[in-house]
Amino acid sequence: MKRSTFLGLALVPAAATALSACSDGGASSGSTTLRVILANHVWTEAIKAAIPDFEKSSGLKVELTTLGEDQLSDQYNVKLNAGTGDLDVMMYRPLQEGKLFAKNGWMADLTSKSKADKAYDWADFQESPIKATTYKDKVVGVPIITEREVLYYRKDLVQKAGFAGPPKTLDELKAQAAKIATDNPGVAGFVARTGKSPAVTQFSSFLYSYGADWTTADGKSALDNPKALDAYKMYGGLIKDYGPKNVSTDMSWPQAMAIFQQGQAAFYTEADSLYKNATDPTKSKVADTVGFAQFPAGPAGSKPYNIPSWALGVNKASTNQDNAWKFIAWATSKEMSLKTQQAGVPSARNSVWANPEGVKGYPKDIVDATLASVKVGVDHDRPVVVKVSQARELVGAPIVDAITGKDVAASVADAHKKFDAFLADEK
């Protein structure tokens, strides 16, 4: 191509850049446009479909951005740190970043707004999720999705091994996993997350079911409790002895789920919100023989977590807070919550669970497991601190050591020391 032609072509983008730098950029003028950021989730899909109705009834325009979980987190980090008012409504994880965001003053206070409208019925929300979205007595978010840990299991393998049903206690789980693994070479008895940080949440139910917790009432580390050690040993032992061969020590749910989907494991403890991955025949080889049961009981009973995985909040620096609330009120209303629950997303409203319409379409055993779990559930699945990532790595280290066969007692003692120092530092 001739040089002059190329030069001409090159100058066009220059002009275009100069022009576009001014137009189409940044915040839209006028507060009738709402900037909403949501995570990729079935909930988001359901809401997205209904947004045109919202726009019609409210007269507002919604500018929606959807991102994967990690990318979302990165975006928030950059945008909220820069402190500009470029986003109005945010979908966040109350237990992962809620405390940090609230502490930094990035969340708007929704207390009065949430209680203003009787029809909205703030009291209808479940107690534990609300606790997680409240900071220092101020409401900073509205929970939209809840999850609990349940036991995924292979009905066919359990039956073949001669058991009457899925295990009801952790010891039974161990026994069943052992027998199935021996009888079926190539199939692991048990699989679960193994990554230092990802495994913490799924391990938490084990911890609570042994009667232990992360911290004591006065905010010190509770890992020196011998029951905690037992819990670590149980979780790690199950994977070490009856888990997949050569198991990777950085599996999060996609990797663990894949193993279960391919039919290579009999039992899998995981969040119930992921159940569709196991029951969808286009994704799972074992779709027609997968069952769900309540988390098996440990010495202290069955104590799975029951947490709000996601919530909606308003950016404190937003110049559009009233309209932002309008969106949230609509998306979390009784009507919308029913719709999203029907789409397969467990909501945080009691009325929706009580409504038979709300549980239609879910496999029956998941509904049973969920309802049972809500009654006994613990309201946190990880240490409730500001620096959640570091905390997860500290308390998750013994999990990985237990899986790889290292000295668990020493590892837990070490984690206890470090966690204690960490907690003292946070105060």
Partner: protein, 271 residues
């Protein structure tokens, strides 16, 4: 040609092996895009499986997918063109005048870790009301391309003898005229190489688009994450989306090849 038959055979075998090694994972990825999610994880179904077009339907039916292709193309093209505009003359000057220290200033753009750029840039561009527009994406991509282009061209210009311009000046061309009429045409392979690489880097850039792009200006790498959800990963969709992303670049690369190859004839006319 004075190459021995043994060498010719060796050469063919070597090239075939290399091509296979480079292409195998890509072929696997494209094949996966025609598999159902179950089959992707099933090693028994690696070669023989029942193909499906469902993944591509998902990808193309998704709102705005073609818009993202356009966005990526626009940004990559503009960033590359502008970087060439700024970078080639700069490289020429830096080469002819041995401006090594000045060249290092430009290289700094490539040295600085991207993490340290995100918050400050977002802050500045947000206050300039530029976030979400094409301009800021193009600028950030140029930042990455410029050092690449400058250094590749510098190496190239270093290899062209100064007698080239001197003879032109003897004939009455100004130094810049000599550059335009003599040097530049001979550097087409360098410009094509630098341009293609710059385009590719821009096309695949993820970090800046993630933070600086708006809903309408999102580029492909960010859009691909739409298939990565909180509660499920649509692997088939991801593979299909990736395959679709790769296609335009292949076309561009094929087109640019002509100019990389033209160097073969140009090289023969140089002293």
């Amino acid at each position: 040609m004075r190459t021995s038959p043994a060498y010719r055979v060796f050469r063919v075998v070597a090239i075939v092996l290399i091509v296979v090694a480079m292409l195998l994972p890509i072929i696997w990825m494209v094949m996966s895009s025609f598999k159902t999610n179950i089959d992707i994880f099933d090693t028994a179904k690696t070669i023989f499986f029942a193909p499906t077009l469902a993944n591509y339907t998902t990808v193309l039916a998704q709102a705005n997918y073609l818009k993202f292709v356009w966005n990526s193309f626009l940004v990559a093209f503009a960033a590359t063109a502008l970087s060439l505009l700024l970078g080639v003359p700069a490289a020429y000057s830096m080469s002819r005048f041995s401006m090594n220290k000045s060249a290092l200033v430009v290289l700094m753009a490539r040295v600085i870790p991207g993490v340290s750029l995100l918050v400050p840039w977002y802050y500045v561009f947000s206050n300039l009301r530029m976030v979400g527009g094409y301009g800021v994406l193009i600028l950030s991509h140029m930042f990455v391309s410029l050092p690449l282009i400058v250094y590749i061209m510098m190496g190239f210009f270093d290899g062209l003898p100064t007698e080239l311009e001197e003879s032109g000046e003897v004939d009455g061309l100004t130094p810049l005229g000599a550059f335009w009429h003599l040097t530049l045409p001979l550097s087409t392979p360098g410009v094509a190489t630098a341009g293609v690489l710059s385009f590719i880097f821009s096309w695949n850039n993820f970090m800046f688009a993630l933070v600086l792009a708006g809903a309408n200006t999102k580029t492909l790498p960010v859009a691909i994450f739409d298939f990565v959800g909180y509660a499920s990963i649509d692997w088939g969709g991801l593979m299909a989306a990736s395959s679709v992303v790769t296609l335009p670049i292949m076309v561009i690369a094929l087109f640019a090849q002509k100019y990389v190859v033209s160097g073969l004839t140009a090289g023969a006319t140089k002293g």
